[in-house]
């Protein structure tokens, strides 16, 4: 039984990163993830990591590129504003297929952001962080323990698939303290050495790390020249298209993860993510005890979204209720996943407000009763 520690989520995440063999934490102090950098400064050298602190987010973006291209495990910590600031680098690094982990703990609303709960950065992280045809693999924890476990997973996934991976927390989680246990895991299990990374060795042919569309990208893969078949009127496939297609092929191979609660016989499935899911789950447990056939679906990989699992979880359902701290962002993914099969209701509190348990209970009861009447 591993030792249990009482830790703040940001501290636990940083400790997990250090135990995952991460050598650099490149983040600018910003609430609610400031403490991650503080923890790193104090403990980095115990783990043989660099205590270096970056001067600004723009430099963090560049240094993620440099450290990752040099073969080191590296991570970034910030909130939505920080993610915006490193966005250009992320676009470049996704093209270069550089592995890294980004801990994003957004605040309520945009701009400087309110110091409250919010989920308005869902689109930013999962859909369109920056220019170009790429996505960030996004993992969404809802407990401090999950922060730890997903950090180990994130570093492994990033290296395995050579993609940037985001751990997307939120304000409530960032401010939470809980008992956590650190798994005794080999963080490099089954991973191949990074033979693509730069080490400067002049005795072998030179290596070059650049984006796919600028040619000569460092990747051992060739997805084949689709346009080469005779009689094919399509434009020939160039290195740019090949690299984008290769990237999306990788996304398709990344395992989807989710957490389905009481979904087997649920008439109403409530979908929510992050810390809000924790509050919603408490309400779902309560309603189940009363005999209401309510289930809960929580995606853990926000990108790639577990569409198939959502379909499976809503097999018996007559309605899906989406709850979020925004005006309906994951709602779009739920609708995509259901593709018109079921009616989808939405209840959201944007701008830095988190609904109360009573509010959530009311919304679920409304959806449930409406179903009963309709049935």
């Amino acid at each position: 039984m591993p030792e249990k520690l009482f830790m703040r989520a940001t501290h636990a995440l940083t400790e997990a990163a250090l135990r995952s063999g991460c050598k650099f934490y490149l983040g600018y102090p910003i609430t609610p993830i400031t403490e991650a950098g503080e923890y790193w400064s104090e403990h980095a050298e115990e783990h043989g990591a660099s205590p270096f602190m970056v001067e600004s987010e723009l430099e963090a973006g560049a240094m993620l590129l440099g450290t990752s291209a040099s073969g080191a495990r590296t991570m970034f910590g910030g909130n939505g504003a920080s993610m915006s600031l490193i966005a250009e680098s992320l676009s470049t690094m996704a093209g270069m297929e550089l592995p890294m982990v980004l801990a994003d703990f957004p605040r309520g609303d945009g701009g400087a952001g309110s110091l409250t709960m919010g989920q308005g950065d869902y689109f930013q992280v999962t859909k369109a962080i920056a220019q170009g045809d790429f996505h960030l693999v996004t993992l969404s924890p809802h407990t401090v323990q999950e922060c730890v476990d997903l950090t180990f997973d994130a570093f492994w996934l990033a290296d395995k698939f050579r993609v940037p991976v985001v751990i997307m927390g939120d304000w409530i989680l960032g401010m939470s303290m809980e008992a956590v246990a650190f798994p005794d895991r080999d963080p490099f299990e089954g991973l191949e050495p990074k033979t693509w990374a730069l080490d400067g060795d002049m005795s072998r042919p030179k290596r070059h790390v650049t984006g796919g569309s600028t040619g000569g990208m460092v990747t051992s893969v060739n997805v084949g020249d689709v346009g080469k078949e005779t009689g094919d009127k399509r434009a020939p496939v160039g290195p740019g298209e090949r690299s984008v297609r290769w990237r999306y092929d990788k996304y398709s191979r990344i395992p989807r993860r989710w957490d389905a609660l009481f979904c087997d016989d649920a008439e109403v499935v409530v979908a929510s993510w992050g810390s809000l899911a924790r509050i919603v789950k408490t309400v779902v447990y309560k309603l189940r005890r009363e005999g209401l056939k309510v289930g809960h679906f929580r995606p853990i990989t926000l990108y790639p979204y577990p569409y198939e699992a959502l379909g499976e979880a809503t097999k018996k359902a007559r309605e899906v209720l989406v709850l979020e701290c925004n005006t309906g962002m994951m709602l779009e993914d739920v609708k995509l996943g259901l593709n018109g099969r079921l009616p989808v209701e939405f209840y959201g509190r944007p701008g830095g407000v988190c609904p109360t348990m009573a509010e959530i209970e009311y919304e679920i009861r409304q959806a449930y009763q409406k179903k009963k009447v309709a049935a």
Binding site: E59, M63, L65, G66, T67, A69, L198, D199, G200, K206
Partner: protein
């Protein structure tokens, strides 16, 4: 480059002594830059000095702009950085591989317009990287718009009447600024517009590489180059204008010299907590 290729180029014709040879990468591949561009001479100097120094480990980081085309000619590992980010990327690479010679190539647009804070931070940190700035006063890649480094009066596509300091500001002489940093080991400015100057520049690059290879501290070479395309001039006119530049804002020379074995010493410190504990009395204002 292979030894056979080298031997083929160096074949002796009737005992005549070669006084000039094209650098092998430029024989194997054509120069990627425009006619009259100073980056060819800069790249030649860089490549020859890498070949002379023979570092065991070397990694180059290359900014997005005209100078990025040096990447195909460099004989070492390299990574392409976003515009303005090459110095930060070089710092990061150096942190992972402290035993490697790390060189950042960046134009004046990348360094002075887009990445000014980054080069200042790198210099202040005394990071032992060598930064080579190609300084031609224009954003050549996008068709020659003026940069911060352009001196007043330079006619470009975005300053058709000449760069007006009233609206477009004065040049930032980054080499002069960074030479004042105690953490800078070697800072020099050279020019490529004339063979004699190019030769001097090559000697500066030699020393810069040696200093960075010995982890002496932050190293910067400001290479003043010509851009006839961006300046809207013939190659000959561009050389004349380059003379005006080095006589005006960008005088060539070593701004901070370095000798073998010299190393920037980072100061030892006393933590603020200890400092306060050690203080017997709180100093009072004298007036």
């Amino acid at each position: 480059m292979s030894n056979e290729a080298l031997a083929e180029i160096k074949h002796d014709v009737a005992g005549r002594k070669a006084v000039f040879e094209r650098t092998v990468p430029f024989v194997q591949r054509a120069t990627p830059w425009c006619m009259g561009c100073g980056y060819g001479a800069l790249a030649r100097a860089v490549i020859e000095e890498i070949e002379a120094l023979k570092p065991k480990k070397m990694i180059a980081t290359i900014d997005t702009a005209c100078l990025e085309f040096i990447e195909a000619h460099l004989p070492c590992d390299n990574v392409h950085a976003g515009h303005g980010r090459a110095v930060s990327v070089a710092r990061a690479v150096k942190k992972v591989h402290p035993d490697a010679l790390v060189v950042a190539f960046q134009g004046d647009g990348g360094m002075l317009n887009e990445g000014l804070n980054e080069v200042m931070h790198a210099a202040a940190a005394g990071e032992s990287i060598c930064v080579i700035m190609g300084n031609n006063g224009v954003l050549g890649d996008t068709g020659g718009q003026f940069t911060v480094a352009a001196e007043p009066g330079l006619v470009t596509s975005s300053s058709p009447l000449g760069k007006n300091p009233k609206h477009q500001g004065m040049p930032i002489k980054i080499a002069d600024i960074l030479a004042t940093f105690p953490t800078a080991a070697y800072v020099a400015r050279g020019s490529t517009h004339d063979p004699a100057y190019a030769y001097r520049l090559q000697k500066m690059i030699r020393k810069a590489f040696q200093a960075a290879n010995e982890n002496a501290g932050f190293v910067l070479v400001d290479a003043v180059t010509t851009c006839p395309t961006g300046w809207g001039m013939t190659s000959v006119e561009a050389v004349r204008y380059a003379e005006h530049r080095i006589e005006g804002y960008y005088p060539v020379g070593v701004l901070k010299d370095w000798e073998h074995g010299e190393k920037v010493e980072m100061p030892s410190f006393i933590s603020s907590t200890q400092r306060v504990e050690g203080m017997k009395t709180v100093p009072q204002p004298t007036h």
